[in-house]
């Protein structure tokens, strides 16, 4: 056993710092006992108790720093002393300037007076409470969380309405406010078209198409999918229309929703009627007459909604590249498919994209099944088994319960795709790939191996499998739109230029004997 002593004269350290150093010194490899302390009587007493007090230490003054190391060998003592010297050297600039962390909306709002919006994505059980606190603090709310009860939604929206605040959501995935996309959204040009959307991917699609047609967005207000239900009564859509009407930059307003409850549709159209700005109404699967009667502009598809909006906003319709349906392509694909390959299988991340494709198929066929079908007879009893034409919203709760959304975790969709690809009655599989803020960093890339595998298997069986892809995104988005499209095309996937065209192409590819 060896003991080494170092005394540094007139070197002061606070006792707490020294305790901390001692603790670290005792953890040095090979150290039996280490004491780093000022030469006070009390510390000498401690050294005496542990049998380390030498005459040299006894002579140390209160202002002297004592370093004592006990280890198995001289070498270990020496190396420990070197390690102790290192402990005294402070690594400066340890961290960047402290960013104050707030734990509650109350304290953040109180300390950040310029805060004007809360984006809330906590578990649904706690979400309404946080949203209420945000509204109490005069913050507009983007409530991404789902599993918030309809009673809570109504209470929050009424409260927001009284305070003149936006209450987007619950279950609101998309908004663009002041050219800032919140949660999921695409990078679209600034312009003069305002959107109020009760459906997330539908709103994304319309904003992207507007950008594609050369137009731009002022605001995109998401309302959450239940806003136009009987119970909620369209509180946020009505407030949204009003706000866009008052917004000087907005020239045209676009409304997007699944078909609203009848009484709510009446309220919304009444507001459309009194609105001084042109309003394009795209209620998926909705009827034209009431919209026209209200003086609105009816759109049957998302693409039509975007075209009408940009034209109303000042674009020259004749100069638009409307990306007409490619009929020669349709003929070509039809020729490749066998008579048995009758069905479309749509596997979607985007709920509205699924809805639009499904409604377009329903215009042509009877037997269109889905997990989100309104018609009870055609709602899939077993979501894990497709029937005839099947369109699946894989972002719906049926699929996501306890699992991440397919936009984030593609594994469920990959498995389902491989199943569908084996079915000889399937002519075309339609899939969406959503780019932009909040999306997967490479949505095409994660699907690609499965696509190649399915294609190869079908070829082995002498069967053509048509895979139709739609990439929702703009040239400004991340990941890069062109690269994503190229990857799909290189894998032999046919690309649709819009959600609408995707639905139309899919249904036409499998049409027989016309």
């Amino acid at each position: 056993m060896s003991t080494k002593v170092v005394i540094k004269q007139s070197t002061y350290f606070d006792s707490v710092s020294l305790m901390s150093l001692s603790t670290k010194a005792n953890q040095i490899e090979g150290v039996e006992q280490a004491v780093i302390a000022m030469g006070t009587d009390m510390n000498k007493e401690v050294l005496k108790n542990v049998g380390l007090l030498t005459p040299e230490l006894e002579a140390a003054k209160t202002s002297d720093l004592m370093i004592v190391v006990k280890a198995a060998t001289d070498e270990l003592c020496e190396s420990a002393l070197i390690a102790i010297e290192e402990l005294f050297k402070k690594k400066g600039g340890s961290k960047s300037a402290t960013e104050i962390k707030y734990s509650t909306i109350d304290s953040a709002a109180a300390s950040i007076p310029e805060a004007n919006l809360a984006v809330i994505s906590v578990n649904g059980a706690f979400a309404a409470r946080e949203a209420r606190k945000a509204l109490e603090n005069d913050l507009h709310v983007m409530l991404f969380s789902d599993n918030v009860s309809i009673e809570e939604e109504i209470a929050l929206k009424q409260f927001a309405h009284e305070k003149g605040l936006l209450m987007m959501g619950p279950d609101c995935g998309t908004a663009i406010i002041g050219n800032v996309a919140l949660c999921f959204g695409n990078a679209v040009r600034k312009g003069n078209i305002g959107i109020v959307g009760a459906s997330g991917t539908g709103s994304q699609e319309v904003s992207v198409r507007i950008h594609d047609f050369g137009g731009g967005i002022t605001q995109l207000i998401g309302t959450g999918g239940r806003d136009l239900s009987e119970q909620v009564g369209g509180i946020m859509m009505l407030d949204g229309i009003k706000a866009l009407e008052e917004d000087e930059a907005t020239k045209v307003i676009v409304l997007i929703s699944k078909p609203p409850a009848a009484s709510v549709q009446e309220k919304v159209l009444a507001q459309v009627k009194s609105c001084k700005k042109p309003v394009v109404v795209y209620f998926i699967g909705g009827e034209e007459t009431p919209v026209l009667e209200a003086g609105g502009h009816f759109a049957k598809t998302s693409k039509e909604a975007a075209i009408k909006a940009v034209v109303l906003a000042g674009a020259n319709e004749d100069e638009l590249n409307k990306r007409a349906l490619n009929w020669p392509l349709i003929e070509e694909v039809r020729a490749k498919l066998t008579p048995e390959q009758k069905y479309v299988r749509g596997l979607f991340c985007g709920g509205t994209l699924c809805d639009e494709a499904m409604y377009l198929a329903m215009d042509k066929y009877e037997d269109v099944y889905s997990n989100i079908q309104k018609k009870a007879d055609y709602k899939l009893k077993n979501i894990h088994e497709s029937k005839a034409h099947t369109f699946l919203d894989m972002g719906d709760d049926d699929f996501t319960n306890g699992k991440p959304h397919p936009m984030i975790d593609p594994s469920t969709r990959i498995a389902r795709f491989l199943e569908e690809a084996k079915d000889p009655s399937v002519g075309v599989i339609l899939m969406d790939f959503i780019l932009g803020f909040g999306s997967h960093e490479d949505p095409v890339g994660v699907m690609l191996p499965a696509i190649l595998e399915a294609k190869a298997n079908a070829a082995k069986e002498g069967r053509h499998l048509e895979i139709l892809g739609y990439v929702l995104g703009t040239d400004l988005d991340t990941p890069n739109f062109d690269e994503q499209v190229k990857k799909l095309m290189d894998a032999g996937v046919t690309i649709a230029s819009s959600s609408t065209n995707a639905g139309l192409l899919a249904r036409e590819f499998v049409a027989k004997g016309e």
Binding site: D14, V16, S17, M19, S20, S22, T23, N26, Q33, A34, V35, M42, V46, N49, S94, K95, T98, I100, K101, Y102, S103, T104, I105, S107, A108, A109, I112, E114, A115, N116, L117, A118, V119, I120, S121, V122, N123, A125, F126, R129, E130, A134, F144, G164, L165, L166, I177, G178, N179, V180, A181, L182, T218, D239, A243, E246, D247, A249, F437, G438
Partner: protein, 475 residues
């Protein structure tokens, strides 16, 4: 312009709660976003969330806000003055020759931890109620001694908090509200009674404190009249103390104020010299003084109907107890005392430590100590080692407190006041516990202090308090 249109035209500054990359995406788009360090309120326990909801009912919340405003005003406006020193038997309410006060919530002899037992037996010997420690144990167990929490006698006691009849006490009077608080004298550091040591050297020191130090301070204060402690506390913080574990500046200020009067007392030069040497032997001399100040201010805020402000945090080495203003009297809410994590004296290991003990958390209850770590960069080793972390602790505490005390400020934080008025609702809401920096006593009797570090109260105590307060207030 409507609020929605203001939003359209203004610059987005979002508060993001939940998925963090939403914040990153907003920042990428050249807007501002602040991400909350959010946890489910009440740890996600439905009964606690229900309770919080009940307390957020507008009418109830208003009552609480008014009560809490009054409570923190009383804490902040309290002006505790040191007015004297005297023996406990002469001044402490309810004190008898066979009473022993202890730290923390009520506890019986059989349940006391090692260091408290050590201190109790030492005190019994010191008071002449037993001839040695062995006999003292029998006396303690016999039922002849009345054990009672310091807090229930307007007192606070460091570590084991053991206070007996003939010990000298600080007498601190609230100039604003008139109430009085007491605490005994610092024995300085290491092998001392309040840390559980009780050998002859410890008893000898207590005797000297009773016969020389105490009377000298008593006589000095008779001449001095009063000393404004709050002013001195504010100064000490500016000089780099947080006034729980670092008392270098405060001790200098206090002895500086007392010295002229000590010199005027009738004690011998040698005795005066002893006193000055004693004070110089450690920097902890003023430690208990601040505790009495804090107790004096907080007692003035106790018993305000509907208030959710914490007026006491104290530990007996087994249990941690809190009292809440709205629950008048001695209603304790308890949970298990926690380990204290921090640097230790050479030769001791974490397994030697006793659990968190002492009434000294009264300093954190007032807003200094762990709450004011940013004022004391010299001892940041206690809280992890960096000044940033120390600042972080001081600013984080604002999340669970109601006000900042403008009379006690921290230079490093642009002279912001210390976080004051712990609100049990905010503790449950945020999941943030008050940080306490404190000494570590050995787990066994007879050894004493072996280190210092940080600890937290058990959440359980706050949970129980919230549920009880909710029931009381909603009625």
């Amino acid at each position: 312009m409507s609020k929605i249109n203001e939003l359209f035209n203004g610059k987005i500054h979002a508060i993001n709660v939940g998925i963090e990359f939403f914040k990153d995406d907003i920042i990428k788009q050249n807007a501002n976003a602040s991400h909350l360090d959010w946890k489910p309120p009440g740890g996600g326990k439905p009964e606690l969330i229900n309770a919080l909801d009940k307390l957020e009912n507008a009418a109830v919340a208003e009552k609480i806000a008014a009560a809490n405003k009054l409570a923190v005003e009383r804490i902040i406006n309290s002006q505790p003055m040191l007015v004297g020193f005297d023996q406990a038997i002469n001044v402490v309410p309810g004190m008898t020759k066979t009473t022993i006060l202890h730290a923390g919530p009520p506890i019986t002899w059989d349940k006391m931890c090692g260091s408290m037992k050590g201190a109790v037996t030492g005190a019994i010997v010191f008071e002449g109620l037993a001839k040695d420690i062995e006999e003292a144990e029998q006396v303690a167990a016999s039922g002849a001694i009345t054990f009672s929490p310091c807090h229930e006698h307007n007192c606070v006691g460091s570590m084991a908090g053991v206070t007996s009849a003939s010990m000298f006490m600080h007498v601190v009077k609230n100039k604003t509200y008139g109430n009085v608080a007491y605490t005994n004298l610092s024995e300085q550091m290491a092998k001392i009674l309040r840390m559980g040591a009780n050998d002859e050297s410890v008893i000898a020191r207590l005797n000297w404190m009773r016969d020389v130090l105490g009377p000298m301070l008593r006589d000095a204060m008779k001449i001095a009249g009063e000393i404004d402690l709050r002013l001195m506390l504010a100064q000490a913080l500016h000089m780099g103390d947080e006034c729980h574990n670092r008392n270098n500046a405060g001790t200098s200020l206090l002895i500086q104020a007392l010295t002229p009067y000590i010199l005027e007392t009738d004690f011998t030069k040698e005795q005066k010299r002893e006193v000055f040497d004693f004070v110089a032997s450690s920097d902890y001399f003023s430690g208990p003084t601040w505790m009495a100040l804090c107790k004096c201010a907080l007692d003035a805020a106790h018993g305000i109907e509907n208030s959710t402000i914490v007026t006491t945090m104290a530990r007996n080495g087994v249990e941690f107890g809190i009292r809440v203003s709205g629950m008048a009297g001695n209603t304790w809410f308890t949970g298990p005392a926690q380990k204290v994590i921090g640097p230790m004296f050479a030769g001791y290991k974490p397994e030697d430590s006793g659990l968190d003990i002492g009434d000294s958390a009264i300093t954190e209850t007032y807003g200094i100590g762990g709450f004011a770590m940013a004022a004391a960069p010299a001892i940041v080793a206690l809280v992890g080692g960096t000044v940033e972390e120390a600042i972080g602790f001081s600013t984080t505490m604002k999340e669970i407190t109601t006000a900042e005390n403008p009379n006690v400020t921290i230079p490093l934080l642009d002279f912001q006041g210390v976080a004051t008025g712990i609100d049990i609702r905010q503790v449950i809401q945020t999941g943030i516990l008050p940080i306490i920096n404190t000494a570590i006593a050995h787990k066994d009797a007879g050894i004493g202090m072996i280190g210092a570090g940080i600890t937290y109260p058990p959440m359980e105590a706050f949970e129980k308090a919230l549920l009880a307060v909710t029931e009381t207030i909603s009625q």
